[in-house]
């Protein structure tokens, strides 16, 4: 019940959006989200309501956070592992 799910907005009709959740489309209400939502945006859904518009640039911020962890971690297996994740994520984004 407390886990929100991110999805991509396909269409907006008044206070209801059609959102694609990894291939599954469903209606999401927009009364709670605190920013205007447009097709192409990503939102976090919780029990049928968008609770946050996820800004694309914050994905970068998350990755930067992991990179700062790497500096703390030095050059051990964890560093290699997270580095691999970040590289994978970057190339994944470029492909998308």
């Amino acid at each position: 019940m407390c886990l929100g799910v991110p999805g991509r907005v396909v269409d907006v009709d008044g206070s209801v959006a059609t959102v694609d959740f990894f291939g599954v489309r469903r209606s999401v209400r927009l009364e709670v989200v605190d920013e205007p939502v447009a097709p192409g945006d990503y939102i976090l859904n919780h029990v049928g309501f968008a609770i946050r518009r996820i800004p694309a640039e914050q994905i970068q911020e998350t990755l930067a956070l992991y990179e700062s962890l790497l500096r703390e971690a030095g050059d051990d297996m964890m560093a290699a592992d997270v580095r691999g994740e970040i590289e994978g994520a970057r190339s994944g984004r470029e492909r998308a």
Binding site: M1, C2, D34, G48, E57, T62, A73, D81, A89
Partner: protein, 380 residues
């Protein structure tokens, strides 16, 4: 334009427990640097426990690190008399709608599922807006039995603010997380040295809400997301703060959580609800821990529209097995499920004795589903 593609979302996950295992190095080093064992930290979210259990993270935590699940299952902490209110209303012939997890949660003598088997009409809904929709399709009263933390309460508030039909009302058992963290932090016997806060509740409240808690209780709080990588990163940050003796709030989930949170959501939440003291099942009386409808919303408050006579349940004896249930200690983080005599024997998901075995977010249910006791983390 960069965006969160499904590919990226997939690749942010550690699907392979073996890869997650390599992250335990940092946790092990930090635990060793802290130099006292066990180091106990608490999360307050069923979804965190699901991810920890599902991805086998507890098996890669170092010995000496104890990650405890606190009162993070909204269904589990719904108090027995609150379930009783739903049972009595439904038994009186009022049509009830609620989230699926609530059906089998034991009340004093009956669950909603028991009432349903005796002929009560109870609809399971995915969203409170479906419950309002049900009310629009009929003239009879429809009561939404509303459970969940602030994230879910916001949805209930939004529906009430969006002109629901007059035959719709709400039986609120909503709970508010920040006050219960104070209770757990101050519990006698609590060894908790820091909290991992749930990212999505903080999406609403903002991480700033934890600053006062940190100030008063001198315990660090780290807001974390739900992917295994998010959780491990959150724990690394939390142990750093514990090691440095630095009570502070850290936000390790910036893609969803800001300092001020979702202001529009907070405004809707507090326009409809007021915080009030009340019991959380098995935990304690929690000042300001319950969310009830404000007076302005009395016409949509099931407690004021219906006479809910709990004495009608007094003819029944409570089940004796329930006396051995230690759900309360489990939710307070004092005991783990394997310490319960009933766990996996009399109490299993098909025939749950306690609320922790009912909900998908309950500690016992999660441990049972993912192979019971993957705890190699040095529980005392």
């Amino acid at each position: 334009m960069s965006a969160l593609s499904p590919t990226l979302a997939r690749e942010l996950k550690f699907r392979d427990p073996a890869r997650a295992r390599s992250l335990s190095g940092a946790l092990a080093r930090l635990t060793a640097e802290i130099g006292r064992a066990p180091v106990s930290v608490m999360h307050v979210c069923g979804s965190h426990e699901q991810a920890i259990a599902k991805f086998g993270l507890r098996a890669v935590f170092p010995k000496g690190l104890n990650v405890i699940m606190g009162p993070g299952c909204p269904v589990c902490v719904t108090d027995t008399p609150e379930v009783d209110e739903g049972v009595v209303l439904a038994a009186q012939g009022v049509r009830l709608a609620t989230y699926g997890d609530m059906l089998r949660v034991p009340g004093t003598v009956k669950s909603l599922a028991d009432a349903q088997a005796e002929g009560a009409r109870i609809d399971v809904v995915y969203s409170v807006s479906q419950a309002a929709q049900l009310a629009r399709q009929t003239d009879e009263p429809v009561v939404f039995f509303a459970t969940g933390f602030e994230t879910t309460a916001v949805a209930t508030a939004a529906v009430l603010l969006a002109d629901p039909p007059p035959n719709f009302s709400v039986l609120s058992a909503h709970k508010y997380i920040p006050p219960v963290m104070e209770i757990v932090a101050e519990m006698p016997g609590s060894r908790v040295e820091g909290f991992l806060a749930a990212g999505h509740a903080a999406t609403i409240t903002g991480w700033g809400i934890f600053e006062r808690f940190v100030e008063e209780h001198r315990l660090p709080v780290v807001v974390a997301g739900f992917e295994p990588l998010d959780i491990l990163a959150g724990l690394v940050k939390l142990l750093e703060l514990v090691r440095d003796g630095r009570p502070a709030v850290a936000n390790m989930y910036p893609r969803c959580v800001t300092r001020e949170g979702n202001r529009a959501a907070q405004e809707q939440l507090w326009r409809v609800f007021r915080p009030t003291g009340g019991r959380w099942r098995g935990i304690a009386h929690v000042p300001n821990g319950n969310l009830r409808l404000r007076d302005e919303w009395a016409r949509f408050d099931a407690r004021r529209r219906f006479r809910i006579d709990l004495t009608s349940l007094w003819d029944y004896a409570p089940p004796t097995l329930a006396q051995h249930c230690i759900c309360g200690d489990i939710m307070a983080g004092i005991a783990s499920p394997d310490r319960c005599k009933l766990f996996g024997r009399e109490c299993v998901p098909d025939t749950p004795v306690g609320a922790c075995m009912v909900s998908m977010e309950g500690t016992c249910r999660i441990w049972h589903q993912y192979g019971a006791v993957p705890d190699l983390g040095g529980t005392a």
